[in-house]
């Protein structure tokens, strides 16, 4: 799939997007002009975790969760749609300002910075979607046999899984399976003592988890309980912290 063309982002757009009232220019106009940095918070530098997460920080967290988790996580469609809208409005403003010959040198600086940020966010969005795409293809058969997992994916993701599973099935059938005895033609055998033929996420794989807040105790495989305080870092099987990550109480790092 070509993720580099611009239509890609347009195609991702969903119906029902929020009314667009946060364009770069509008917010620029509303921004107070002469406050000489009076509203700089007193928080010590690099302690931004204390503040509320911006949509971008949320996406970064989901991106990292997705990258580290062995399972495919719920789709963050709304968050993504909001950010894509934001990317689009910022790009449009940049285009507008660029064609305006009266813009000053100072304006150029801002344009360059805004554009740089747009590219950074696009990179994160792409990487996030590519990670999901990779998992969808890897677990295509598992997704198609499991309606519960399908509910966590967006429609287009399920559609992709369906088509991918069908294509590989047909390919295997035409290239090999049709010349095998009928009993050996299936692709979803679950013989005893060997792994199932359907690739499933290995939830027992270890992950590094960071508690974003004090978490309720979770049960470890050896029977003891793990009580994670805020900021605690642990290496533990994914199945142990799956719920904490899903609820946003912990993140994978």
């Amino acid at each position: 799939m070509d993720v580099d063309d611009d239509d890609f982002f347009t195609n991702l757009d969903r119906p029902g997007r929020a009314a667009n009232n946060n364009t770069f220019q509008e917010r620029l106009r509303r921004a107070s002009r002469d406050d000489d940095g009076a509203e700089i918070p007193d928080a010590p530098p690099f302690m931004f975790e204390e503040e509320e997460e911006t949509p971008l920080q949320q996406l970064i967290r989901h991106w990292m969760n997705e990258r580290h988790s062995p399972d495919i996580l719920p789709n963050e469609g709304e968050l993504l749609a909001g950010l894509l809208d934001h990317i689009r409005s910022q790009s449009e403003t940049v285009q507008l300002l660029r064609t305006d010959p009266s813009s000053s040198e100072e304006e150029h600086f801002r344009i360059v910075l805004v554009q740089t940020e747009v590219e950074r966010v696009k990179f994160i969005v792409r990487s996030y979607l590519r990670t999901r795409l990779f998992k969808i293809e890897k677990f295509a058969r598992y997704i198609m046999t499991n309606p519960q997992v399908q509910q966590q994916l967006s429609e287009s993701e399920v559609e992709h899984a369906r088509r991918f599973a069908r294509l590989t099935d047909q390919h295997f059938y035409h290239s090999v399976l049709q010349s095998l005895p009928e009993t050996q033609q299936t692709l979803d055998d679950q013989p005893p003592f060997v792994p199932s033929m359907v690739t499933e996420p290995d939830k027992g794989r270890a992950v590094f988890v960071l508690a974003r807040q004090d978490c309720p105790p979770v049960r470890l495989p050896d029977g003891t309980a793990l009580d994670m305080r805020k900021g605690h870092i642990s290496l533990t099987p994914y199945s142990v912290v799956e719920q904490l990550v899903a609820r946003g109480e912990a993140e994978l790092v």
Partner: protein, 183 residues
């Protein structure tokens, strides 16, 4: 392929750097700029010589064009790092450092070493600190079992460094524990 082989098991240091660059840093601007809305928030106005807090990536961008000085974070100083190094070598546990200190220190020292006092000394301190902590995380491997290993105060870059080996080791330990009950 949707995701290159090299990115499947772990993230790259460059990606960690990208994430760390979202954090705010203080600068002394050399240009004026009105308050501007970005996706991650509104920053500015820049009015030299008043200090201002902007994301590290923006500071890097301006610094490379010689349009600002970066004020290094408090912990990026000889005094602080020396104190942490003493603690690191005298006590068994990891001492507390900002979660993404390695990435931020690298970026700041790369682009703005002239804004940091005693940059060379700080570089060598960071290296000593890294080695002391690396030795500790290697020791931590002894305590690894199949269910959990607590790693308080370990930092993002250090986690990334030990990730492949630790995850695989834990996977093998899990298999060893599971085997008897399966039979």
């Amino acid at each position: 392929m949707a995701l290159p082989q090299s990115l499947r098991t772990s993230v790259t240091p460059l990606e960690l750097e990208l994430i760390a660059s979202e954090q705010l840093v203080e600068i002394v601007p050399l240009i004026t700029m009105e308050k501007t809305a970005f996706i991650s928030g509104a920053y500015g106005p820049l009015r030299p010589p008043a200090k201002c807090r902007i994301p590290l990536w923006m500071a890097t961008n301006l610094k490379l064009k010689k349009k600002c000085h970066i004020v290094p974070p408090e912990w990026l100083s000889v005094d602080f790092l020396l104190e942490r190094l003493t603690r690191e070598t005298s006590r068994p546990e990891f001492s507390k450092l900002p979660f993404r200190f390695a990435e931020i220190a690298k970026v700041v020292l790369d682009v703005a070493s002239d804004d940091v006092q005693n940059a060379d000394k700080i570089k060598s301190l960071l290296k000593d600190l890294r080695e002391a902590r690396q030795a500790k995380s290697r020791d931590g491997l002894q305590k690894l079992d199949h269910s959990e290993l607590s790693l308080p105060n370990l930092c993002s870059m250090e986690i990334n460094e030990i990730r492949p080996f630790f995850i695989q080791s834990m996977g093998i330990l899990t298999q060893l524990v599971r085997e008897p009950s399966a039979e």
